[in-house]
């Protein structure tokens, strides 16, 4: 299986602008960063959450606490998935009780990852509110889940794949759309 790139959706500059705008919207909607925490979903949501935290720090002088969430143990498709996936790190080093949690992921698609993340977050405590920030919303929801902060809405077909690239994992930044082609 190979990824065949069809078009660029965001170049590095547009991606950075989208992150900065999401950061501003988060602060504006929540009237500051008091009681605000960011939680990135493994893997690329973690990098995006870190970028959002840095953007917030630039404007507000302080960054909200940041955690990471691996939703593997909360998936609903273990039996149909094949060999179980490798588990990433969940690290929430603060109390989420009474906090506003901004959940961050790269792509919002079926909504099943977010469902799993919400269930997992509930097991860490009772947040006052949970909001969702995604870089790309590509549609095709299978659950009643909607994002609060979106970098870009991208209409896609189910055959297509959206790839968000971040410096730390992919060596470059940007968003592309493509298809998986069987060799």
């Amino acid at each position: 299986m190979n990824f065949h790139e069809k078009a660029q959706i965001m170049d590095p500059q547009r991606m950075r602008r989208a992150i900065v705008r999401i950061a501003l919207e988060i602060v504006e909607k929540n009237k500051g960063i008091d009681d605000l925490v960011l939680v990135g979903i493994q893997r690329r949501g973690v990098n995006l959450a870190r970028s959002i935290a840095q953007a917030i720090e630039k404007n507000e002088g302080a960054a909200p606490p940041m955690g990471t969430l691996d939703i593997t143990f909360y998936r609903d498709d273990l039996s149909t998935l094949g060999p179980v996936p490798k588990v990433g790190k969940t690290d929430i080093g603060f109390d989420i009780n009474g906090k506003t949690v901004i959940l961050v992921d790269d792509v919002l698609y079926t909504g099943r990852t977010v469902r799993a993340a919400l269930d997992e977050l509930m097991d860490f405590g009772r947040a006052r509110r949970i909001e969702l920030a995604v870089l790309i919303d590509r549609g095709h929801r299978e659950l009643p889940i909607r994002p609060d902060f979106v970098g870009k809405n991208v209409p896609t077909s189910r055959k297509e794949v959206i790839k968000v690239m971040v410096e730390e994992i992919d060596g470059r930044e940007g968003v592309v759309v493509g298809e998986i082609v069987e060799e």
């Binding site: 299986m1 094949g82 060999p83």
Partner: protein
């Protein structure tokens, strides 16, 4: 990923598979420290614990691991079973599987019992100890405990002391540790050391003081009085005189050297109380790690068919 539906021994695992289990166990240790120390991942699975040989801590550890994964569990022990009415092992298990169980955790006094079962049923089998063969999850939890203390197993010197001949814990430790690059020395009275130990990749030393010189870890095995015959066992007092680990011996080892024991301990036979309660033992860490390792094994064996690999969800 693990290649097989079962975990029967460490002999047939690769170093990569062992590493995957230990890494996954670390993730479950973190889960165990959460406000809600369980995850819902196996809520659609049913696991049968079949214990044909008495066991307290292994059975409880498996049970807790299964509950922490949200699996439904059924416990079955020999004393209360229809085996006492003459039913065969295969018939017993077929009946349980007809109730739609997904996995079997089994302890049995016959070496090879786990393999026998695994070859005959579609459900996954986890060996919780079979005779004198292996006790793979004990080997894994010992390795996890050692890796936590030493950072790596590669190149480390581990001494296993006791009745190597009858010990499935020793065999699983030897297979696992050598695959992970540790140097293993077995130590005990000559009648308790089987021949051909070198072929398993370890060295033999009959002198405990000498064996533990420069060791990074010492795994003290339980003297299993129930398995002893007159020929191999010189008696508790004679054994203790030569092979009981005490503070004085430990003082002559590296300051970082630490002591493991799979439990239950025979205090003052294989280990003195000072060592068993001292600051260089990691016995209770082993117990905690045991739950995490068993969660990891059960989770990793619960995936679907390999052909679905690569399916993505956003």
């Amino acid at each position: 990923m693990l290649r097989n539906k079962d975990l029967l021994d460490l002999e047939s695992l690769t170093a990569a598979e062992i590493k995957l289990i230990l890494d996954t166990a670390e993730a479950f240790l973190a889960v165990m420290r959460r406000p809600v120390p369980k995850v819902p991942i196996l809520r659609d699975k049913t696991i049968v614990n079949l214990f044909f040989e008495s066991s307290t801590r292994t059975r409880i550890s498996f049970e807790l691991a299964e509950k922490r994964l949200s699996a439904d569990i059924v416990n079955f022990s020999a004393a209360t079973s229809s085996l006492s009415k003459g039913e065969t092992l295969k018939d017993t298990v077929d009946n349980i599987l007809a109730m739609r169980a997904d996995m079997v955790v089994m302890r049995h006094s016959a070496s090879g019992a786990a393999r026998y079962l695994a070859d005959r049923i579609p459900a996954g089998v986890v060996n919780a100890g079979d005779g004198m063969h292996e006790h793979p999850t004990q080997g894994l939890l010992d390795m996890l405990t050692m890796r936590q203390r030493m950072g790596t197993l590669q190149g480390k010197r581990v001494v296993i002391v006791g009745d190597i001949m009858h010990s499935r814990v020793a065999r699983s430790n030897i297979w696992g540790l050598t695959k992970m690059g540790a140097k293993v020395t077995v130590c005990g009275p000559p009648p308790m050391i089987p021949v051909q130990m070198e072929e398993m990749g370890c060295t033999v030393d009959y002198d405990l003081r000498h064996a533990i010189e420069g060791a990074d870890a010492i795994n003290v095995l339980r003297i299993q009085l129930e398995r002893q015959t007159v020929q191999t066992f010189p008696g508790n007092r004679e054994y203790a005189r030569l092979y009981r680990l005490d503070d004085e011996m430990l003082a002559a080892t590296k300051p970082s050297c630490f002591v493991l024991h799979p439990g239950p301990m025979n205090r003052d036979v294989e280990i003195t109380s000072e060592v068993a309660d001292g600051r260089r033992q990691v016995i209770l860490d082993q117990v905690t790690n045991g739950v995490a390792v068993r969660m990891a094994v059960i989770y990793l064996l619960s995936g679907g068919a390999p052909e679905n690999l690569g399916e993505n969800l956003n």
